[in-house]
Symmetry: C2
């Protein structure tokens, strides 16, 4: 019998180079950059024909676990074939320590379920086209992994890209289903353009995709060999040590540096599908096709004569004149402008935002919830105005606020309101009042029509954390 | 007895090169670019010690007249010495036809009041510092005007500016209160940098400020001589012809091209005060002092390494990396980015906005009213959410809407509400409902505290023009 294939999706980062699109509470993997669904959901769905959701785990950290859990509930977005993320397991690190600890932790857990299993390790925030080719490659990689190889996906380069690491290959090991498995000669850091051009011309170089396939037992053997301290700490967790303490002791190291660059048993499998690591906003060129001036323009953009520039707007008007090789990303509460070759520095912008205590690094004004979404229209010291949308058939938790009251005015649809045990309907153009301390619940009983209402909060404190939940459809605390 | 001095302020333009700061309903002269008050109010107050408000007229067109009239009511902004614009007369053209018709029309009206009067013609949207020097120059110019000269203000250049027209002077005519009055040799269009440098070095060149002083009778004589068709049309208005028809027949021409470049009786008076025509967003450098990197940064800006760039933000976060010689202007609903040497093209952006029917060329989301201000937080087909602020002691009109109802939730202060004859108070954290068709009035009875409320409009139509006014403190129709 074949060893079972499991999927391990790494989803611990924020992707702050994607700010202002990404936020702490909207990490890059949850963004709908490349279509109607998030990169994470797309990653899961890409695996699904080969690996069912019950054999997929997401490794994340405690700061993101709840955000990801709620995201996996289908929040009403077009999602053919999506079964609500149920069955997908979350493996929660107390905090991120790069890929080696994350992969080690996941491997240990898998071994307990299935001692012979093969695991595919996948970033949650990459762009991959041609899912069928991807899965064919994955199947071949799994076959090689069963023979004891640590298999890394090497994407066939299509241009002299300076934004990726490269893998220099040695001779062919074998061919599986017309897909080549090759020896790895060495890993190469992001090259300069001249070198990248040479690699492309010479051949024998692949882009290092960060996708790996191996037996869970094999990678743990290698970690024991090359990262003995990490191995010890991982084992202590399995034996019941507090995970926080074990993680405090771990060094932060990638599986590439820690294991793959040292092991003998490494192999690279030729992956022939369009791929991007979405490493910075400049990667938006992988998602959208530039026009004949090399521009990408989305949203309500008015441009005069820009060249090779990406203007990503939203509902606001963005006007540009004569930009050259620039990126402009506009969101409802923040705008970024920078040269395309300096998108790496966006991370530093986010650091400044954090230091200054600007909320714009933390969250978007529109926040998705499993029951729908809300948008903060305006906020002051003692009041907050929200537009609240509740999906058909969904409801918020039964809750109470200690420090604020709420006025609700329905602008579309009808609301089922529970307030201190009394249940009543509030229809379009009607309003109701939820006093401070009242136990209340808001729901949309319609089967088809979303409910939209304006909430005016008043009180001495209007933070999101002033909430006591009594019952919740989404198991929130 | 001395001839009386009158002020004629030209305020007919939108100043669309200042978009997104300027809008059709917030023309440049009404912007508070250079302080707490609008350029127009500052222009009036600069004249006041010399020309009382009852001798000041503003020439504008019918599209802007009501906006300017309401603006002249003090809308609660710090405004020492401002007497609410009362006494200032509006001279309303049906539409703009450049400066010659505007000045001719104003001169005709003045002649009827005072046949010997001297008129000072002033743009409403320029920046002038050192008001005392300005008024001293104006007094001297008036003296020269009494002797029959058409006097134009020539500002002493302080740098080789390529954004202004120049006046080449001839010999001195005389000196009045230490201020030189000189002959004009010729008018020079905006020069290239090389020429501008030469002008500065050679001396004898002034910046053409567009400020003029002359007898009303004299300028009409000159118009009769050099623009006979315009003169005929102006006269027909005085004799009772419809002003629209007369204006239809007029050619659009500036007083500079039409008269000043042709007449013999022109003189230039040396004006030694800091001045800017605020011709484009690049003129913001006249208002704010650049830092040591040459940058101007206002608002919540996070910048990494930009040079010689102007980043004018507001409440939103604007992040910039490595901009060079760029301008970024951010407003709540629109952002503009362009090189500093292409700010002239902002006008074209506005043309595109207009063509596409984007409301962002028309008005800001915050609209000032004589009773306070409102901000549109969100709008849909059948609803609109506004934050409304009513100044202490002010009230809106007694009004009625045919197609919408309104929910009001008070978030700060207290409201005096009149609804179908009934009067009641609505306090902080209370709400009330104004049904469709109800005659209602909102006021702030407090002497100190502004009233703030959230208005949720619901209805088949939520346009601003669905309003029937019964009574109004500000004489609106």
């Amino acid at each position: 019998m074949k060893e079972t294939l499991y999927g391990i999706i790494l989803a611990g980062g924020v992707g702050s180079r994607f700010w202002p699109l990404s936020r702490v509470t909207s990490p890059k993997q949850l963004l709908k950059i490349a279509g109607d669904e998030s990169l994470l959901k797309t990653t899961i769905k890409r695996l699904s024909p080969l690996i069912p959701q019950r054999r997929i785990s997401i490794v994340t950290n405690s700061a993101q676990a709840e955000i990801i859990r709620l995201h996996l509930y289908d929040a009403g977005h077009p999602s053919e074939g999506w079964v609500g993320g149920r069955g997908v397991e979350l493996v929660v690190e107390p905090f991120g320590r790069n890929t080696a600890p994350a992969i080690g932790l996941a491997a240990l857990k898998l071994l307990q379920k299935d001692p012979d299993c093969v695991m595919a390790v996948l970033p949650s925030d990459h762009l991959i086209a041609r899912g069928e080719t991807f899965r064919r490659t994955l199947r071949a990689a799994a076959a090689a992994a069963r023979e004891g190889y640590l298999v890394t996906f090497g994407v066939i380069p299509t241009r002299p890209e300076t934004g990726y690491g490269y893998i220099k290959t040695g001779g062919a090991i074998k061919t599986l289903n017309n897909i080549k498995v090759k020896k790895v000669e060495r890993f190469v850091e992001k090259p300069e353009l001249k070198k990248a051009k040479r690699y492309l011309k010479e051949g024998g170089y692949y882009w290092n995709s960060g996708i790996f396939v191996w037996k869970a037992g094999k990678i743990l053997d290698e970690i024991r060999l090359f990262l003995p301290s990490l191995y010890k700490n991982l084992l202590s967790i399995q034996r019941g040590a507090a995970i926080e303490e074990a993680y405090e002791k771990m060094e932060s190291i990638s599986i590439d540096h820690g294991v793959l660059e040292k092991t003998e048993d490494i192999a690279v499998i030729e992956a022939d599908f369009p791929w991007s690591d979405m490493g910075s906003l400049n990667s938006l060129k992988e998602v959208f096709s530039p026009d004949r001036d090399g521009n990408i323009m989305k949203g309500r953009v008015v441009d005069i004569g820009s060249k090779r520039s990406f203007i990503i707007g939203s509902d606001r008007v963005v006007a540009t004149i004569g930009l050259k090789d620039m990126i402009l990303v506009d969101t409802p509460d923040a705008t970024l402008v920078c040269p395309r070759d300096r998108t790496q520095e966006v991370k530093e912008v986010v650091d400044v935002l954090k230091k200054r205590g600007y909320a714009e690094h933390e969250s978007h004004i529109t926040v998705e919830r499993p029951w729908g979404a809300y948008t903060v229209l305006e906020a002051g010291d003692h009041y907050k105005i929200k537009k609240v949308m509740v999906l058909p058939g969904r409801r918020l938790s039964l809750q109470m606020h200690r420090k604020r009251s709420e006025h609700w005015v329905v602008i579309s649809g009808a609301a089922r309101v529970e307030r201190d045990g009394k249940v009543f309907m509030v229809k379009e153009n009607e309003s109701t009042f939820i006093p401070k301390g009242a136990k209340h619940r808001l729901g949309n009983p319609s089967r088809k029509k979303p409910l939209e209402l304006i909430e005016v909060q008043n009180g001495s404190y209007v933070g999101e954390d002033d909430i006591v939940r009594f019952k919740d459809d989404y198991e929130r605390g």
